[in-house]
């Protein structure tokens, strides 16, 4: 699975169906494209998306920590 798809899946689990829009907007705001998204900016995308999709600041930190781990293990797996 593509890491952005993984991020989208995890965010939908936490923030519902509108989470997909957040990721699309963040990619656009970063001036990048989903198809050839650079790997070294994945963490930045994840942090920006979480901050715009999760309401509670305390939960945001927790989610960022968990997703960072997941993305790292996903990259190792790939």
């Amino acid at each position: 699975m593509n890491p952005i798809d993984l991020l989208e899946k995890e965010l939908i689990e936490l923030a519902g169906p509108l989470a997909g829009f957040v990721i699309k907007k963040q990619i656009k705001d970063m001036g990048l494209r989903r198809e050839n998204f650079p790997e070294d900016r994945l963490t930045e995308l994840m942090e920006r998306s979480v901050k715009n999709a999760i309401f509670e600041p305390s939960k945001q930190k927790e989610v960022i920590r968990k997703l960072r781990k997941k993305l790292v293990s996903h990259a190792d797996y790939l």
């Binding site: 939908i12 689990e13 936490l14 923030a15 519902g16 509108l18 999709a53």
Partner: protein, 275 residues
């Protein structure tokens, strides 16, 4: 590490009854009720025997005493089951008023945990919608109308207790008063044994009715609601929140969650359209 008594009890509780679901809670209430129904007449019988009170008074006052204790137990158990539902309802009302800063630190049993997770997901959806579309009144269109009062609800729960109390009073009064009582006791051999069996059968039947009504009025609609909320919060906009059961708070919660789902659907359509 110090292990507290509470931890030991909760560990034992989990080992005996398994996961803390609504059904487990209902089963525990049913069990307590059945044990109370069996033990109370015996205990009261002994007390009346010791105090030397005549049987006629025993049979007239027993149902009242049992009923008073059981009604207290019934109110306690219903309040305990509805407490987290009411807390969640309060937070959902605030969400509908547009306040996203609600306290969702509510627990109680598995179905409530699942509902809280879904409401949290819906809150995040509203948060996203707000940042994309700006603040608006889209969540303030509740069609909720109170359809049954709390008094009505308690009256439904009270029915088996009333049947039990009235039957015991009639049987007791008839058997231990005057000529009719003597006749019946003469006709029915081993009357004391028959009486004990009657008390047990009635007690268990009443506890069963109580458990059945609780399960029908709270358990089933809560499970249905938790499932619908989970589906809706994950994006299934056809999730069905309709409950046939019109129990005040659960019905209001289902209507309000349905409204939240509709607000998210509208936001989604607008966001799709503005892409």
């Amino acid at each position: 590490m110090m292990v507290t008594g509470k931890e030991i009890v909760s560990e034992l509780d989990e080992r005996i009854f398994g996961k803390n679901t609504l059904s487990t809670k209902l089963f525990k209430y049913f069990l307590t009720m059945a044990l109370l129904m069996l033990a109370l007449p015996v205990v009261l019988d002994i007390i009346f025997e010791i105090l030397g009170i005549k049987k006629i008074f025993y049979y007239i006052s027993l149902p009242s005493l049992v009923l008073i204790l059981l009604i207290f137990f019934m109110i306690y158990s219903i309040k305990e089951l509805l407490r987290p539902i009411n807390e969640l309802l309060e937070q959902v009302r605030k969400l509908q008023e547009g306040k996203l800063d609600v306290n969702l630190d509510i627990g109680g049993y598995v179905e409530i945990d699942s509902l809280v997770k879904s409401v949290n997901r819906m809150r995040n959806s509203l948060f996203i919608a707000r940042s994309f579309l700006g603040e608006r009144d889209s969540t303030r269109d509740s069609i909720w109308k109170k359809e049954i009062s709390h008094i009505g609800m308690y009256l439904i729960f009270l029915t088996p207790f009333l049947i039990y109390g009235i039957t015991l009073t009639i049987v007791g009064t008839v058997l231990y008063s005057g000529a009719l009582g003597t006749v019946v006791q003469g006709i029915v051999p081993m009357w004391e044994f028959v009486r004990a069996v009657l008390v047990i059968v009635f007690g268990v039947a009443m506890a069963f009715s109580f458990g059945y009504i609780l399960s029908k009025a709270i358990g089933m609609p809560m499970r249905k609601l938790a499932k619908a909320a989970e589906e809706a919060s994950r994006g299934n906009m056809d999730a069905d929140f309709a409950t046939k059961e019109r129990l005040g708070d659960i019905h209001e919660l289902s209507v309000r969650l349905h409204d939240l789902k509709e607000a998210i659907r509208r936001a989604m359509e607008e966001m799709e359209g503005s892409r």
